[in-house]
Symmetry: D2
């Protein structure tokens, strides 16, 4: 069975395994001070156009989120997120476990705009509520949508005008950037106080790069990594991977492939007259299909039924990855056409 | 320069890289439910002689310790450790960050015995102090020493008689078992409520296996992994490694090599008439050498000066690993003999 | 200006000051083991019809909530509340600060029913979300409404059938019971796993009585008090007050007075043809009045404008207390009639 | 039986009960913004000679300590204390429960000096240990000793030179100041970043005044009070008490009485040739008496046996309070003389 359930069903890009093998027996200092990590940080800073960016490689997205938010928030401060935000729904209370409340706004497309945030800033009486301090967004979002450069700029300006920090969960940032031609890593660095750049879903075995742009938030961040069990003894494992992915644009090439695979299916979905639950140009799409079609597809392909839309049809979630072969996509398309005619 | 600073200065055993490469493109479900992790758990349960053992692979030792201790302790309960315990000294307050106090006993050899623990159980008045609940030990310890089977049995019985749980930090458990012929993994499983078996320091890129033997402590443990950011999307990365290490005794073979390399140096140290700071049969040794000798060795070899013993001499820490070539050890021995004559 | 802003604007019932004075120089042991606290616990257990109830007096409602919820919840477990729940809105993230997520249901009347809870029990995938464990309700609620005995019984049975604990925030439980003739303290003890009985809003200087009915949740609770700074050295201060309030039904007499004062206003509100925002038979009422009337009332009386209903009218919150003189209420009524004619 | 077990065995100074009664029915706003609290803060600021001091009244010492330390410390920062420090021994892990490690120095007299602190500032390697940030001292200490003005000045300068904050637990600060003529509240305000001034042990029913002198640490502190359940609805209860105690020097008069009572006993102890365990000029003394004498005293007086000194004798702890009648002291002296002759 071919799985479209996730973008972490395969291992890693072969160039990473080659690099791990090539560097394997070199003796290196631990905890992220190895030469590969140092090199990867240099590569990333260059692409960020910020030589002073504070960069830390960690093993996953939930740890990245909890490290950053706990470091940025005082005990009584909260983080604002969309109701679909990964931190609110699917991290088993990781942020609350560090002592902080998440306040949410319901938004149809998983994106936050100033008007979603403004009501959450009206608190009374003083001291009896939490005090919002960080705005958390995902790009691409948990439902495949993306921010335009204009939207991000507006949001960034709003945050700065209101004493809020802007943090971007970039588990699928490579896909978002690949799908948004006028938006670059350097823009992200300029518009956010911090973000993380995803590796796990974009060709790495594991690894995300936390980037802290705001100098006031940089000091001592590595203490948080150690205290939360995120300072890998063999930091090289992450350094080698990011050095590989950041060389010659491999990361964004892989993201573009993941996007292209999903979008190839999306075009057929639309051609067949089906609606989409969300507007997505990335590697996650949510076609709304008749239950009968879904049932037949299920026998051959792995995917999640996301949401029952009415008695006859449901939205399914299809995710493609850097490793999805075009043949798998074509096979899905053939099946979809066939069952749609039935 | 040859490094004897740590047992995580190299990558991983080549068999692991081969296994990662071989399995790389197989599509697998995430979060540790992949077939490699399932297989690794089966292999481990067989060696534990406990088919009901609860096993979870995580990425490092600090996270293993904080996951287990936070899961086992109620808010007001404490963990007892030796003053040299890794959780007390070198985890940046990771256990306290989960809300728990560590109570310590000063012991000369880094090991805990009932008489070290007993005074910490005398608390008064009720409710004004924390309530001890877990005893944390390391084997081998942070200073290279090891528990005999008799010592562990006595400690285990004492804990059970006093309503205490026994948890063993096994970052270097393979080395301890390789150095203690009558002690097996199955013994450890029987004598402790939980422990972790180290991979990072024994040939893996990263990875430790948490084993919960006590059935009352098993339910829902995976929630803790997710909440603390330790549930890897690509759990296969750990599963493949442990499946490799646990096959045909590779893990213990690598540990035996690490031990043998350090002990080869140890024999020469003693032959030259130097003392050791601690009694070690494992891969960490602490020779006490004249400062002049240390200064000369430092130009060629990397190691830590552990403790100034008097004005003329200091204990240094030498650590060998699964990857230490015998030539490196021989080179060190030649240098040590030369500077000792000087 | 007469304040209807809250039920804690005055000090305490004179009988409490007399009791504090009478017992003042008697030497007593500390931390709640004094004879007055012991006596108050006996009085309460008798009214609960549960000689084994575990009772702890604390200084306020937020501390009561955080003590109970933190004691009952494991790290990854959540508490379910109404969106208007005090713990969710007005405790500055106190529950999250102990590491726990609050999950909310939007309910129009501030009350929870099984159908509000059921959707929150559907979680997937396993381990990626928090796990609901406690249901938190308030009676009377934050918007003045009350549970009937039948509603509480249904909710209690639902919780037990679904492995959920039921905890009742009783900041204004005396008012709720005074307004619900067939519901008694003994019923509350039987239907909940724990609750607290409010003193601060019902005639005490400060103090709430936490009652743990479920024996499995009782052991060691006092440790939590000490650890969160809630074990008063002079526990007598709370014991003397509760002994006074629980003697001869004083507590419920005061609550009935508070209710009667608000309901006297409510009758006039309705007679004048105004709507109420919520159905309340307790000491909190939310009349919807024309803005012009509100503006005039504001010059003479203190109260909160709760919610703008439309351009012309708003709901205001009026709260009366054990100490509200009937003349103050009459004065308000006179003013309301006058401005309503204008 | 007359109790010398503690300085919180009685209620409060009668002037407080009178003030509570006098102000009882005045309607006041809640949460510490009432006129009595405002007035008490003004009185205190005047005595501190610091009109900008940030003052918060709370209900007890443990909550004061955990509020201040949690507010001042980042996640990875630690507090340094003497091994006898109340926060380390007798607060049931309250500080650790907020996520912070306490690092201790063993000192014979319960006082910290720069040389006790210096070794704790030597940490290596970076990021693997906690980072000390606050120095916690008690005055008078848990064993009755006091700091001279010179000692406090030296310590304060050392802290400032080393980037450490100095926080003083003043549960018995009135006794310390009463026993140290050249040291004033204004000195304490100048030499520390924050402290609390004890009320519970000095004539109040309950209450401590947290004073934050360092302006950088003042913003938003009241959020912490609310979040930890320490913002009393009827803040007047604390305001009235402190207004009473701070008027006309009542607080220090009561402390002087407490000291005088203990010192009267101390003079007889010494006259009879007994040693003291610690040098105390305050209301806690630790005479070393023969076991036979202790056994006889125990039948008539309540006190703790603090420490077995050898087979024949033990140190006992005697505490007197603002309420201790001189006759009780005289009775103890008579008994001590009698049994000592026996």
């Amino acid at each position: 069975m071919i799985l479209f359930t996730n973008d972490y069903t395969e291992g890693c890009h072969p160039a990473i395994l080659e690099a791990l093998t090539r560097t394997n027996l070199s003796q290196q200092v631990g905890y992220g001070f190895d030469e590969y990590s140092v090199h990867a940080i240099e590569l990333l800073r260059a692409q960020l156009n910020n030589p002073a960016a504070d960069v830390h490689f960690v093993h996953g997205g939930t740890i990245a989120n909890l490290l950053v938010l706990n470091a940025f928030l005082k005990s009584y401060e909260s983080v604002i997120a969309a109701q679909t935000g990964h931190i609110f729904v699917h991290e088993a209370g990781a942020i609350e476990a560090t002592g902080h409340k998440i306040e949410v706004a319901a938004t149809p497309d998983g994106k936050l705009r100033p008007e979603d945030i403004a009501p959450l800033l009206q608190k009374s009486p003083p001291y009896h509520t939490v005090k919002p301090r960080v705005v958390y967004i995902s790009n691409s979002t948990e439902i495949g949508t993306t921010y335009t450069k204009a939207e991000l700029t507006t949001l960034s300006e709003y945050c700065r005008a209101n004493g809020l920090l802007l943090y971007l969960d970039g588990a699928r940032l490579p896909m978002a950037l690949a799908a948004t031609p006028d938006l670059t890593l350097a823009d992200i660095a300029q518009l956010t106080d911090a973000f993380y750049l995803g590796g796990t879903k974009c060709g790495a075995l594991l690894g995300e790069a936390i980037v802290i742009n705001n100098p006031a938030l940089q000091p001592d961040f590595k203490y948080h990594l150690k205290q939360r069990g995120a300072l890998l003894a063999k930091g090289r494992v992450l350094g080698v991977q990011f050095a590989t992915l950041l060389q010659n644009g491999l990361l964004f090439e892989l993201a573009a492939h993941a996007n292209a695979m999903a979008q190839k299916i999306a075009r057929v979905v639309q051609e067949l007259g089906y609606e989409m639950l969300t507007v997505s140009e990335t590697n996650q799409i949510f076609p709304i299909l008749p239950n009968t079609v879904i049932d037949q597809l299920k026998d051959e392909f792995g995917f999640y039924v996301w949401k029952q839309v009415d008695a006859q049809q449901a939205a399914i979630r299809l995710i493609t990855s850097w490793a999805t072969p075009e043949e798998a996509v074509d096979q899905f398309i053939v099946a979809l056409r066939k069952y749609s005619q039935g």
